[in-house]
């Protein structure tokens, strides 16, 4: 299995894209991050992560949906791929396994 090294922020973005299931583009992702973690992600940082994920093949993009708020500009929708899903699972499994090895850790 190819190593998927996901940065912490990237993983976060990937998770959120996965959760939003096809309705994710720049601004909503940004908002959701704020909502779920309290972090303010800047547009640049976000797009940077999106590009990386795209290059790694974990998400795929589709352009469309211009609105007035955007001044008539289109949006780029992202959707998680199987590769991306697999990467998330792998990460999760790895974390879970290690966490279980730590004594006195309570999952509440």
């Amino acid at each position: 299995m190819k190593r998927t090294n996901l940065g912490e922020f990237e993983e976060l973005v990937l998770l959120i894209i996965g959760a939003m299931d096809g309705k994710a583009y720049g601004v909503p992702i940004k908002n959701k991050i704020k909502e779920q973690t309290g972090r303010e992600a800047s547009v640049g940082a976000l797009h940077s992560a999106l590009y990386r994920l795209e290059d790694k093949g974990m998400i795929e993009a589709e352009v469309g949906g211009a609105t007035a708020e955007r001044g008539g500009r289109r949006k780029k929708f992202y959707r998680i791929t199987n590769v991306g899903k697999q990467a998330l699972v792998t990460t999760y499994t790895l974390r879970e396994g290690l966490l279980k090895q730590i004594p006195d850790l309570n999952f509440n």
């Binding site: 583009y25 640049g44 940082a45 590009y51 609105t67």
Partner: protein, 878 residues
């Protein structure tokens, strides 16, 4: 709610920095956030946040996305590229190798020129304070400047003037006029011709590096002698020479007190053995008597070190005064003896006066050589560019394909430049190896020892690197920048690359012009050199031999009589002074009509039959003969120039009185003109023949001059050596052909000629390669066109005609331009000679002819090739 758009500046900036699609999306996001923030937090905060977001976009990963989009991994193709490069190379092996070779040749000549010129320019620069060190020279009315001055001048200057810090005098130790000193070490005998004598200050001023022995004391005793590393090895091998003794002329025992590094390869002075000046004074070496205190003589080389460089003017003044004061009595046209100075830094390349230590280099030659090397380099670079350009056209399809699969333009540019760079580097490395490998041969060719030391190694490498970069830049220019710009579809469909024929034509022109100039120059230089060497010197010197005189213990007469026995010896006499190849000598006379002022004349001393031996043309009178001429009235022989300078005709001159000046006396020796001979060149052909006095002298003077027939030469010489050994057991038989001596003077010129030939051959070769490459290039484009012509029924001749069209125009124009430039260049070069050829049209006709022939042959072969090719092959792709 107002819908505010992004500020203009953000808008434009993002548009210019990002690709159109990317810009749209990012701007959209920014816009949306901005609107949201305005709504939630108000304008101020929203503006701040917008700024923050905008800044966050300015990061590499985002900005460089544009190219990235095209091909994710721009380096993926590099491996493939290398393979392609290699395959192309092999497919056109000959062409590719020629390309590399041509460039390597160019680089090699450039390296050679660089090293040689920097070497030559650095002569005597190693001397600390070289800018304050000057040589004193004397200018004699009538005969001109001499590098030597009187013996007492140097020390006197130091004593009298505080701005002169120090001085040293330098003298070459000769056994006789011009030949080496016989030395013996133990039983072994040698002849060393580079023994000099100098004041101890020489060591300090010239900063000689002592490998053994002490610099301060090395020349303290008159019997000390210092060797160079080379001499030490030659005579003592691995043994330590310090303390060993060397005997000069079988009489003077010297003790080796030091070993130093040679300076000959970077200085106008040279030596293998160094003795102190005190030695010469003590033993009163030949001719020393009296000259020690004589102020009006040219005897030693004198160098002074000034306290400050700015004191030069003071020096000039002092020398002027001194010149006026010194009583020489040799006044001609109101001009007296003058003293002047010359910076040692200028000597090697700019000084060519009488009695130089050794033939100096010449700025002119450096310039010529640099020019030639530059032309070769240019030609080879042009060739390279041409050939590379031509070969790259084949690859248009490759470029098209690459673009389609996503290669960015930057990538293509990078690829082609990398490839060109690799070619250049390989050529450069080849050139470097060739240079190092052939260094010995180059040394011979350039009459010097090329050297590279720590200091200039980096300059050297830097120079080569710059060359490589330049070549890469120009060579890769066309394929990288021009070809990579093509739209892929057009290329793949086979639309022809129009290319700018203007540039190509210009390149061909330059090539033709440069090669023509080179050929013309070589031809002319060749002619001039032959002219000098072959010109009748007014005497027959090819069978003349000069034998170094035996030591005082055996008289010349004995040897002379002994040698006269040999049938091959046609004529033998003794002589010295101003003979060809020997340093000029002068003396003073009172010709008829000049009772008071003594006149200075170039002088040679000779015994019987001198005119016969030297094969001189007797215009009047009789040759020297001991029967007719005795010592009470000196017999004088004049040359035509002398007679004319006195206003006499040759016939008138006979019988006229011609007194010989006696050293520091009021009396003169009575003398009479007994013969007049036609002018002959006893000096170099660079100068016109000056008046000459031949003074009859006893046969004990000077060397033996022998006119010997060239049949059985080797046997005769062997016999003579045996006879010599019988008569003079301790001293080796040393002889030289007068030809030798003369040739030595011209050696420099001759070698230059040889190297010119070599380099022209090189240039011709490079030109041929270049023309070949260029023609193939032009023809590639024409191949299809010509195949169609062939189908329509064109004959070989017609094909040829079509091909020639383009070339002929360029050829004509190029040859004209080259002729003009070549003529100018050569006229400037020939000015240096006082005897020179007329340039004439012949060289131009020959050069033009050669070039036309070359091009003609190439065209012919290519036409033939095309004519034979099955048109199907060439038109297949349509």
């Amino acid at each position: 709610m107002e819908k505010r758009d992004l500020p203009l500046w953000i808008n434009t900036l993002l548009d210019s920095l990002l690709g159109p699609d990317q810009a749209e999306i990012i701007k959209g996001d920014l816009q949306e956030c901005y609107a949201d923030h305005t709504h939630r937090y108000g304008l101020r905060v929203a503006n701040l946040r917008l700024l923050g977001n905008f800044m966050s976009v300015l990061r590499p990963r985002v900005l460089l996305r544009r190219q990235h989009q095209k091909l994710r991994n721009q380096w993926a193709l590099t491996g493939q590229d290398l393979r392609i490069t290699w395959r192309l190379f092999r497919k056109e092996r000959i062409n590719s190798l020629l390309n590399l070779l041509g460039l390597a040749i160019g680089f090699c000549s450039a390296i050679l020129a660089w090293v040689y010129i920097s070497n030559q320019l650095s002569y005597d620069q190693f001397v600390p304070d070289a800018e304050r060190t000057y040589r004193i020279e004397s200018v004699w009315p009538e005969v001109g400047p001499y590098a030597k001055t009187a013996f007492p001048i140097g020390p006197q200057l130091v004593r009298q003037y505080p701005f002169i810090e120090g001085c040293f005098r330098y003298l070459q130790v000769f056994a006789n006029d011009g030949s080496g000193v016989p030395i013996s070490i133990g039983e072994a005998q040698f002849i060393e011709d580079k023994i000099v004598s100098a004041d101890p200050a020489f060591i300090a001023i010239y900063n000689l590096k002592f490998l053994k022995g002490d610099a301060q004391t090395a020349l303290s005793s008159p019997t000390n002698i210092v060797l160079t590393k080379k001499a030490a090895y030659k005579y003592f091998g691995q043994e330590d020479p310090i303390g060993r003794s060397i005997t000069l002329e079988g009489k003077y025992e010297m003790m080796v007190s030091g070993v130093v590094e040679s300076i000959g390869y970077q200085s106008h002075l040279d030596f293998e053995m160094l003795t102190p000046m005190s030695f010469m004074q003590e033993v009163k070496w030949k001719g020393w008597d009296g000259f020690e205190h004589e102020w009006a003589s040219s005897m030693v080389w004198t160098y002074v070190l000034l306290k400050e460089a700015g004191d030069r003017e003071k020096l000039t003044e002092v020398l002027n005064d001194l010149g006026n004061v010194v009583p020489t009595g040799a006044i001609k046209d109101g001009r007296n003896y003058e003293l002047r100075s010359q910076s040692i830094r200028d000597i090697h390349l700019h000084s060519d006066i009488g009695s130089e230590f050794k033939p100096n280099g010449k700025m002119l030659h450096l310039v010529t050589f640099g020019l030639v090397a530059f032309l070769i380099l240019t030609i080879s670079m042009i060739n390279f560019v041409n050939l590379t350009t031509a070969r790259s056209l084949i690859r248009i399809k490759e470029i098209g394909v690459k673009k389609v699969i996503g290669a960015a333009r930057a990538y293509l540019i990078r690829q082609f430049y990398l490839e060109t760079f690799m070619y250049c580097m390989i050529s450069a490395l080849t050139a470097l190896f060739a240079f190092l490998y052939f260094k010995q041969d180059f040394n011979f060719l350039m009459t010097s020892s090329l050297w590279i030391d720590q200091q200039n190694v980096w300059q050297w490498i830097g120079f080569v690197f710059v060359l490589v970069l330049l070549t890469t830049l120009f060579g890769g220019f066309y394929p990288s920048l021009y070809l990579s710009g093509f739209a892929p579809i057009g290329v793949l469909k086979g639309r022809k690359a129009t290319g700018s024929s203007g540039i190509r034509q210009a390149l061909v022109m330059v090539q033709i012009v440069a090669s023509m100039i080179l050929i013309v120059c070589t031809l002319i230089i060749h002619e001039q050199m032959s002219f000098i060497q072959g010109k009748d010197l007014g005497m027959n010197s090819s069978q003349l031999m000069v034998i170094s005189r035996p030591p005082r213990s055996v008289s010349n007469q004995t040897v002379l009589q002994a040698f006269n026995q040999y049938p091959e010896v046609q004529s033998i006499t003794a002589g010295g002074g101003s003979l060809p190849g020997y340093p000029k000598a002068t003396w003073y006379y009172h010709p008829d009509g000049f009772p008071k002022e003594r006149q200075v004349f170039n002088t040679a001393w000779a015994y019987d039959h001198i005119a016969e031996v030297l094969d001189l043309n007797l215009l009047a009178g009789k040759d020297f003969n001991h029967v007719l001429h005795n010592d009470s009235i000196k017999a004088i022989m004049l040359n035509r120039a002398a007679v004319e300078s006195l206003g006499w005709t040759p016939e008138e001159a006979i019988g006229k009185s011609f007194g010989e000046y006696i050293w520091r006396s009021e009396d003169t020796n009575p003398g009479r003109v007994v013969a007049v001979v036609e002018d002959f060149h006893y000096e170099s052909l660079h100068t016109a023949v000056e008046p000459l006095v031949l003074l009859y002298t006893s046969n004990d003077f000077g060397n033996l001059v022998v006119s010997i027939s060239s049949s059985n030469l080797l046997e005769t010489l062997r016999e003579m050596e045996r006879t010599w050994a019988g008569l003079v057991p301790d001293i080796p038989f040393h002889f030289r052909f007068m030809d030798d001596k003369i040739a030595q003077l011209y050696e420099r010129e001759f070698r230059i000629k040889q190297s010119m030939n070599f380099f022209t051959l090189l240039a011709l070769l490079t030109t041929a390669m270049g023309l070949f490459g260029l023609l193939s290039f032009l023809l590639m484009q024409k191949t299809k066109e010509l195949s169609i012509h062939k189908i329509l029924g064109a004959s070989l001749v017609q094909v040829l005609a079509i091909l020639s069209q383009h070339v002929v125009k360029l050829l004509g124009l190029g040859l004209l331009i080259a002729s003009a430039l070549g003529y100018g260049l050569m006229t400037y070069w020939l000015n240096d000679f006082s005897y020179r050829i007329d340039i004439g049209v012949l060289p131009f006709i020959i050069s033009a002819g050669l070039i036309c022939l070359l091009i003609g042959l190439l065209l012919l072969s290519q036409s033939f090739h095309i004519h034979r090719i099955n048109p199907v092959k060439t038109l297949r792709n349509e």
